[in-house]
Amino acid sequence: MNNKMLYSLAALFDSPDKIMKAAKTVADKGYKKFDVNTPYPVHGMDGAMKLPPSKLGYFALVLGLTGATLALLFMWWTTNVDYPNVIGGKPLFALPAFIPITFEVTVLLASVGTVASMIIFFFKFPNNSHPVHDTEYMKKVSSDRYGLLIEADDEKFNEAEIRALYQELGAESIEEIYFDEEETGWKPAVFDKKFIGFLVLLAITVSTIAYFIMNKALFEAPFDWMMTQHKFSAQKPTDFFEDGFSMREPVKGTVAKGFMPYLYTGQPDSAEKYLVNPSFPDDANLELGKERYDIYCSPCHGLYGDGDGRLNNQFPNPPSLHTDKVRNWKDGRIFHIMTEGQNIMPSYAKQITREQRWAIINYVRALQRAKHANEEDVK
């Protein structure tokens, strides 16, 4: 018996009035570490025990503010810093859209965190067992008696004095409660070296097995989820033909049905000489030319053909379209340059149809005319 550690001295009372009086007296006598156990909540007990208001609210406040800050910071970082993207025409930091998420994260962190801090800080997790468990005292207070216990840790703890006090208060029975021998000096097994080693070993084993199953075993033919198939795949070489291409070239000189190939490949002078602009620069044509010009030409040549597009200084700067050279070129020459490209300018034959190319030329002519207007034009 003697090597057992005393946890507390407990008394049982048979009525709520008595326990209220007992709690009040014990608190008045200046005991700090004492507790009351009743089968149901007794109103006014907090006041009788002189308990200060719970501090749990502050945990909730701090956690909630943390949640709100983290959520806002995260959304600010993703939408403004890491991957700025305009969505639905809203500003990058679209506060109203973030409020619901901020609210959710605030509530989540505050509620989960409050429960966690209650368990960790107030219930002193991880404790396997509390000394009052499995005692006669606990059996009584969880059915029909009202119990009060003063812990041996208390500064004013004196067994004889407390026994006398309990008697005076009309206690039905008095019980000594001891720590479980196994619990005294008990350390959580989580920090045991062997246990940690076991966890590490387990993690490595499971990861290795998972790696081999997911990456190797699952892809052994023929049970490879049809990952490899004997067909031609885009962008993949084939070993069927010698040259490695899966598609065959058409016979030289093949012409698609209803399509006239460009006749002046590599012959800018002939193009200038023989090609004639087939379109008439009416409103619709110029409108089309402007639209295509703004999309495909303006990035380099500028919106008005001055060679001051927004890609200036990132590549060798393009020439102005208002030089005498360009103005004196015939339409066919410009058409040829757009079709085949020139210097650093690539071919636009794939992006711009022939009609559109002619329309662009009409628009460029209009721009040139606007730059070099005569006195008479104003009249």
Partner: protein, 394 residues
């Protein structure tokens, strides 16, 4: 535990209170009458704000009465009589609507026939938004409210002498009938009197928005009157901090509810960005109204939130009384923000006419309470739940 002994003594409200109410009412009415004489359009808009505020008081109070019955609430039984007296404002609300009816054309764009004719939206809304149906709806609303008010108070008064429990049962059944009617009625009233000021605007949540503010006003008025009565010894010594705590918690909860509803309305309109919805907010976010919108968030949400968030604050009578007045003031500001931009689009106006916004409702509320509480027990002394309600502990 000591034996329960009902310590209620019937005391009349001092005549001084009636006098203060009467003076405030006369000053407010005088300002408003002068306003009608000098600028009748502006005065009509002010009258609309006052009217909707007083409607909020009635709506909030009668809702709390019905809610208490249908939820079987116990703690609020000692304060039910205060709500019943406050809900008596329904008797005079139809009278207060008269000056508005004479100025319908100055406030409501849709009452102009020539405006409706050339307007696709208004033509389509005309089966609902026309003057005769408008009056029918309001009249039906007041008829039903006064009917249920009379039924509730008659049962409650009868119980004072008989103390029969089955009367509570009947009141519960009546509340079940009343609440759906109430929900539809309040939605219709808010749409008719506030939302139809901007007949081109769409918002499906508007009824709830007005209701949330109204309930908050009803609760705030109840809190203020109940605490004042208790401090002056009109109620019972059994009323304690836990009752106060419930007032604080409800005020806090419904402050959040208001913010939630208000933000829901804003978020959806902001997100979808459809012109026929956004113009309403743009009117209130640009020019001088932007400041009012920000102030509304601070006054109506941030200040009550932080003033009531702490546990001790919810049961501190001084703070509760102050916050009740604050919340009622915030509701007037809210209504000002809802209604006034139709009158002056550019910037908020505040002059001597607007003083009536605060003086007249205060006078009416005090008068209604002082006159309504005459010859009435301030506690429902016959209610079987009264003892449990008074001995309520958290």
């Amino acid at each position: 535990m000591s034996k329960f002994q009902l310590d209620y003594v019937k005391k009349p409200i001092p005549a001084k209170v009636t006098m203060i109410g009467l003076v405030l009412f006369l000053i407010g009415a005088g300002i408003l009458a002068a306003g009608f004489a000098s600028d009748h359009v502006r005065a009509a808009f002010n009258m609309n704000i006052i009217y909707m505020f007083l409607l909020s008081v009635g709506v909030g109070s009668i809702f709390i009465v019905a809610l208490e019955y249908i939820a079987g609430a116990v703690w609020s039984v000692p304060f039910r009589r205060v709500n019943e007296v406050n809900a008596g404002i329904f008797w005079i609300l139809p009278l207060l609507a008269i000056p508005l009816i004479f100025n319908m054309h100055d406030m409501f764009h849709w009452t102009h026939k020539e405006a409706v004719e050339g307007d696709k939206f208004l033509t389509q809304k005309a089966p609902y938004l026309n003057e005769s149906f408008f009056y029918i709806r309001s009249a039906a609303f007041f008829f039903l409210m006064i009917l249920f008010y009379t039924l509730f108070t008659r049962l409650s008064k009868k119980q004072d002498t008989t103390g029969e429990g089955k009367l509570t049962g009947r009141a519960i059944k009546m509340s079940a009938m009343f609440l759906p009617i109430f929900g539809i009625g309040v939605t219709i009233m808010s749409i008719d009197w506030i939302m139809s000021l901007e007949p081109h605007w769409f918002s499906t949540i508007f009824g709830v928005y007005y209701f949330s503010g109204s309930l908050l006003t009803g609760l705030a008025l109840l809190t203020f009157i109940a605490i004042t009565l208790h401090q002056k010894g009109y109620l019972s010594k059994y009323i304690n901090k836990d009752h106060y705590y419930n007032f604080g918690a409800l005020l806090f909860a419904f402050t959040n509810f208001w913010a939630y509803i208000g933000f829901s309305q804003f978020l959806l309109i902001w997100y979808s960005n459809i012109p026929e919805e956004t113009f309403w907010y743009i009117n209130r976010m640009e020019g001088g109204w932007g400041v009012v919108s920000l102030l509304l968030i601070i006054i109506r949400f941030a200040v009550p939130y932080f003033a009531l968030v702490a546990q001790p604050a919810k049961s501190n009578p001084t703070r509760l009384k102050f916050m009740s007045i604050w919340i009622m003031f915030a509701h007037i500001l809210d209504l000002y923000w809802l209604i006034m931009p139709t009158f002056s689009k550019e910037a908020p106006v505040f002059g001597w006419i607007e003083l009536s916004l605060f003086i007249l409702p205060a006078g009416v509320i005090i008068l209604v309470f002082a006159i309504g509480s005459k010859n009435k027990n301030m506690l429902p002394v016959g209610d079987p739940k009264l003892q449990r309600g008074l001995e309520f502990h958290l």
